[in-house]
Amino acid sequence: MQISMLAPEIEIALLGLLLLVLGLLLPHKGRGIMGTVTFLGLVIALLLSAAGFGQEEALFNGVYQADSYGSFFKLLFILAGLLVVLSGSAYIQRLGRRANEFYSFLVFALLGMVVMAAAGELITLYIGLELMTISFYILTAYLLNNELSVEAGLKYLILGAISSAVLLFGISLVYAVSGTTVISEIAGHMQFQPAMVAGIILMIAGFAFKLSLVPFHMWAPDIYQGAPIPVTAFLAVGSKAAAFAAFVRVFMLALPLPQFEWGLVLAVLAACTIILGNLVALVQTDIKRLLAYSSIAQAGYILVGMVAGNEYGLKGVLFYAMLYVFSNLGAFAVATAVEVETGSTSIEAFKALGKRSPMLAAIMTVCLLSLAGIPPLAGFVGKFYLFSGAIGAGYLWLAFVGLLMSMVSVYYYLMVAKAMYIGTNDDMTPIKPDTSTRVALWICLAATVLIGVYPAPLSALAQTAIQLF
C-alpha cells in the first residue's frame, strides 16, 4: 500500500487546516491572500489527482479505493471548488473578517466529497457525507443577519440529519443481511429477504434526499435561495456530484442490477424529478430558485444514465456531471457577479444585462442553453449519452419524457435570455466583474463550448473511469 495514493486527500485536508490557522494568525490587512492561498492549494490538489489518474488500488483492505472512477470525481470536485473560489472571491470578501473560515469550510466540504467518491466501504462513505454536509450546514447559514440564510441553514440541518439517519438505517440493514460493509463484497453475501428490500429502499431514500430527487426535493429551493450564492453554486454542483459518485458505486457494485431490480424504481423517480423540476421552474422569478429547480431536473437527467446502468448510461452520468460543473457554475458565476453589483438575484436584476455587460449576458445564455441541451453545447452531448443508454436499456418512455421536458426547459431558460436582451432597466451602469470572476467565466464558457463541439477527450476520460463496473 502506498500512502502517496492519498496525496490529493492529504493535501486538501492540510489546506483546510492551514486556512483555519492562517485566518487566526494573519493580521487583518493580510487576509486578502486567503483566496489566493485557497486557489493555489486547490491547483496543487488538482495536479496531484490528475497525476494519480489511471492508478487502480484498494487501500486499507478495500475501505478506500484509489481508482480512476474516484479520480474522475476528485478532478470534478476540485475543478468545481476552484471555479467557486474564483467566481466567488468578490462576494466572499464582503463577508469581512469571517471570510477566513468560509474558505476553510469550503475546503472541508470538498474533502468530504472526495472521500465520498473514493470510499470503498459504507461507513467511510458515511463519514465523507457527514463531513461534507456539516460543512454545508455552516456555510448555508453564513449570512448571520439574513433571515433567509439562517432559516435555510436550520432547515438544511434538520432535514439533512433526518436523511442521514435514513441512509444510515439503510446501511445498517444491508450490513445486517450481508455481514459486511465493504461495497465490493456485499453482492456476494446477499440473499433475498424483507430486511434487504427495506435496506435498499432506505438507502435509495437517503441518497434521493441528497440528490434532491422528487419527492425528496422540498428542501432544495429554500436552501438554494437562502444560502450565500457561492455556497449555492457549490452545493448544486459538488454535493450533487458527490452523492451521485457514491450512489452509483454502491448500487452498481453492491447491488448489481441483474440481481436486484431497482432500475424501475429509479426510472420512476427520474421521470417525476425531470417533470416536476422543469414544470415548477417555469414560474420562478428568482434566479437562484430557478436554478434550484433546474438543478433538480438536471439530477433527474443524470439519474437516467444510472437507471440504464449500461456503458453509455454510466458514461453519460460521468460526462454529464462534469459538463454540469462548467455550465451550472458559469450560470452561477454570472448570477454572483450580478448580485455583487445589484444586491439582488431576482430576474428583474438581470434586465438589460445584454447592454450593461454583453459578456455576462452571452455567457449566461450559453450556459443556460447548455443545461437545456441545445447543440453544439456540452449539455446536448451529455444528454445524448444518457438517453442512448436509456433507450439501449429499454427505457424508451423515459427518453420521451426526458427529451420533451428538456425542450420545455428551454422556455424558462429563454425567459432569462429575454430579460437580459430586451428588458429595460433604470440602472444602466455597465457591470464590470473583477479579474478572477472573468477568468472563471471564460473557463466555463470555453469548456461548455469545447466539450460540446469536441466531446472525444472527456468521453475517453469517462470511459476509463467506468471500467470499474
Binding site: I374, P376, S388, F400, L403, I422, Y454, A456, S459
Partner: protein, 501 residues
C-alpha cells in the same frame, strides 16, 4: 480537390461572425461589409461546387471526413450530391440577399449580423453533412439565434414579437425532441445490428432494420420534420413566427430553414427507413392536402401581407409533402425543385414586404393601392414573386409544381386532383393581393415612399434572377436533382417509375 471547399463554404459566414464580434460596435458600415463579403464568398464557393460537381459520376462528392467522437460513431463528414446542391445554392443565395435586405438595420448592428451569420452557417451545415449527429447539431443550432433575433428586432402587430418568437421556438423544439428520440433509437438499434456505433448516413442506410422499428422511427421523424416543414396541423407557428420576425429571419426561415424538414424526410426518412416511409407516406399525403387547401382558404381572408405569404408558404409546403409522400423518382424530383423554387420565391416576397414595411410602417393590404406608380422596382419584385408563387410557366415554381403533380398522380390519383385545385386558390389570393397593393389609382399619401435603390436592389436582382433562370432553363437544376434522387431511390430500393419531365 485538395482543399476543403465545403468546409470553407460552410464556415465562411461563421468566420465573418467572429470578425464582426471583434469589431467595435460603432463601425456599422464595416460590420455590414464583412457580413456581405462573407456571404458573397460563400455564394461563389457554392456556385463553384455546383459547377464542379461531376454529373456523370454522380453520388456524393467533395467528401471531407475527419473522425470526431469514436464511441458515438460521429465523423465530421461533409459531402454533396444532387439533392443537397440545390439546397446549398438556395442557402447561399438567400443568405447573401438577407444581408442586403437588412442593410437599413440601425439598432444593435453588431449583434444582428453576427447572429445572422451564425444562423446561415447552421442552416448550411444541415445540407452539407453526411453524418446524422452533425446534421442534428447544425439543425438545432439555428433555433436559438432565431429566437433572439425575433425578440430583439422583430415587430409586434397582430401578435407580440415575444409571443411569436417563443411560439416558433417551442414548436420547433418539441418537434425536435421527437426527432431526437428517433435519432437515438436509430443509433442504438444500428449499434445492436452492426456491432459498432456509426452515425454515417450511408452506413445507416445499409443497415437492415425491422419494419416495425422503421415505422416507429419514421413516424417520429415525420412528426419532427413535419413540424419544421409546417405540416398541417403542426403549422401554427409559421405565420405568426414570420409575422413577428425581422425581414432577414423571415427570408431565411421561410426560404431555407423549412426546407430542412423536407430534406430530412428525404435524406434520413426515405433513404434510411424506406419500409417505414411506405407505411407512413399515405398519412403524410392526406395531411399535405390539409396544408394545400386549408392554408389556401385562410390566405383568402388575410389582410396582413406577411400573413398572406406566411399561410401561402404553408400551403405550398403541402405540394412538397405530396411529392415526398408519393415516393417515386419524378415526385421526389419535383419536391426538391419545389423546395428550391419556393425558397427563392418566399425570400423575395419577404424581402419586398420587409422593405415596404420599413418605409410605410404598415403591412395592411387595404392601406395600399397603386404603389406601382411610386415604386416601380418594388412592384417588379412583388410581381416576380407573386407570379412565381402561383406557378406561372417561365418561373421555376412552375417546374416544381408540374413535376410533383405528374409524379404524384401515379401514386395518389384523387388526392392529386384535389391538390391541383390549390393552384386556383393561390392564383385567386395572390392576384387579388397584388392588384390591391400595386395597381389602381395613385394614392397621394404614399408619394413620400422611396423606390428600391442601392443595396436594396440586391435581393431583387439575385433572387429574381434565380427564379427566372431556373424557370427558363430548368435542366440546370433538374439533371442534378434527378441524379441525386435516382441514386437515393435505387439505394432505398423503392419502386422506380418513369423517366423525368
Amino acid at each position: 480537390m485538395n482543399w476543403p471547399i465545403l468546409s470553407l463554404t460552410l464556415f465562411m459566414p461563421l468566420i465573418g461572425a467572429i470578425i464582426i464580434m471583434t469589431l467595435h460596435r460603432e463601425r456599422e458600415q464595416a460590420i455590414k461589409y464583412v457580413a456581405a463579403g462573407a456571404t458573397l464568398v460563400s455564394l461563389i464557393l457554392s456556385l463553384v461546387v455546383a459547377i464542379g460537381y461531376d454529373r456523370s459520376l454522380g453520388g456524393i462528392q467533395f467528401v471531407e471526413s475527419i473522425p470526431w467522437t469514436a464511441d458515438l460513431g460521429v465523423t465530421y463528414a461533409l459531402g454533396v450530391d444532387g439533392i443537397s446542391i440545390p439546397l446549398l445554392l438556395l442557402t447561399t443565395l438567400i443568405g447573401f440577399s438577407a444581408v442586403y435586405a437588412s442593410w437599413n438595420i440601425s439598432e444593435r448592428v453588431k449583434e444582428f449580423f453576427s447572429l445572422l451569420l451564425i444562423l446561415i452557417t447552421g442552416v448550411m451545415g444541415t445540407f452539407l453533412t453526411t453524418d446524422l449527429f452533425i446534421f442534428f447539431l447544425f439543425y438545432e443550432v439555428v433555433v436559438i439565434p432565431i429566437y433572439l433575433m425575433v425578440i430583439m428586432w422583430g415587430s409586434s402587430k397582430r401578435v407580440t414579437k415575444e409571443y411569436a418568437g417563443m411560439k416558433l421556438t417551442i414548436y420547433l423544439l418539441i418537434g425536435s425532441a421527437f426527432l431526437l428520440v428517433g435519432l437515438i433509437a436509430l443509433f442504438v438499434q444500428s449499434m445492436a445490428v452492426n456491432g459498432a456505433p456509426s452515425m454515417d448516413l450511408m452506413t445507416l442506410a445499409q443497415t437492415e432494420f425491422s419494419q416495425s422499428f422503421q415505422v416507429f422511427v419514421f413516424a417520429l421523424m415525420a412528426f419532427g420534420f413535419g413540424t419544421l416543414l409546417s405540416m398541417f396541423p403542426f403549422h401554427a407557428w409559421s405565420p405568426d413566427g414570420y409575422a413577428g420576425a425581422p425581414t432577414a429571419v423571415s427570408m431565411i426561415h421561410a426560404g431555407v430553414l423549412k426546407k430542412i424538414g423536407g430534406y430530412g424526410l428525404i435524406r434520413i426518412g426515405i433513404m434510411i427507413l424506406p419500409a417505414g416511409a411506405q407505411v407512413i407516406a399515405p398519412i403524410i399525403a392526406v395531411l399535405a392536402l390539409g396544408n394545400v387547401i386549408y392554408a389556401a382558404f385562410i390566405c383568402l381572408s388575410q389582410k396582413d401581407l406577411k400573413y398572406i405569404v406566411g399561410y401561402s408558404s404553408v400551403s405550398h409546403m403541402g405540394y412538397v409533402l405530396i411529392g415526398i409522400a408519393a415516393l417515386n423518382l419524378v415526385s421526389i424530383n419535383g419536391a426538391v425543385i419545389m423546395m428550391f423554387a419556393h425558397g427563392v420565391m418566399a425570400a423575395l416576397f419577404f424581402a419586398m414586404i420587409g422593405n415596404l414595411y420599413e418605409k410605410s410602417h404598415t403591412r395592411n393590404v387595404d392601406d395600399f393601392g397603386g404603389l406601382a406608380h411610386q415604386m416601380p422596382r418594388l412592384a417588379t419584385g412583388f410581381m416576380i414573386a407573386g407570379l412565381a408563387s402561383l406557378g406561372l410557366p417561365g418561373m421555376v415554381n412552375f417546374i416544381g409544381e408540374f413535376t410533383i403533380f405528374v409524379g404524384a398522380f401515379s401514386s395518389f390519383k384523387v388526392l392529386t386532383i384535389i391538390a391541383v385545385s390549390g393552384i386556383i386558390f393561390t392564383a385567386l389570393y395572390i392576384l387579388r393581393t397584388l392588384g390591391n397593393v400595386l395597381f389602381g389609382p395613385r394614392k397621394e399619401k404614399w408619394d413620400h415612399l422611396q423606390d428600391l435603390k442601392g443595396p436594396e436592389m440586391v435581393p431583387l436582382l439575385v433572387l429574381g434572377a434565380a427564379i427566372i433562370i431556373g424557370g427558363i432553363m430548368p435542366f440546370t437544376l433538374m439533371d442534378l436533382i434527378n441524379n441525386g434522387v435516382g441514386s437515393l431511390i435505387s439505394q432505398a430500393g423503392l419502386m422506380q417509375i418513369g423517366g423525368i419531365l
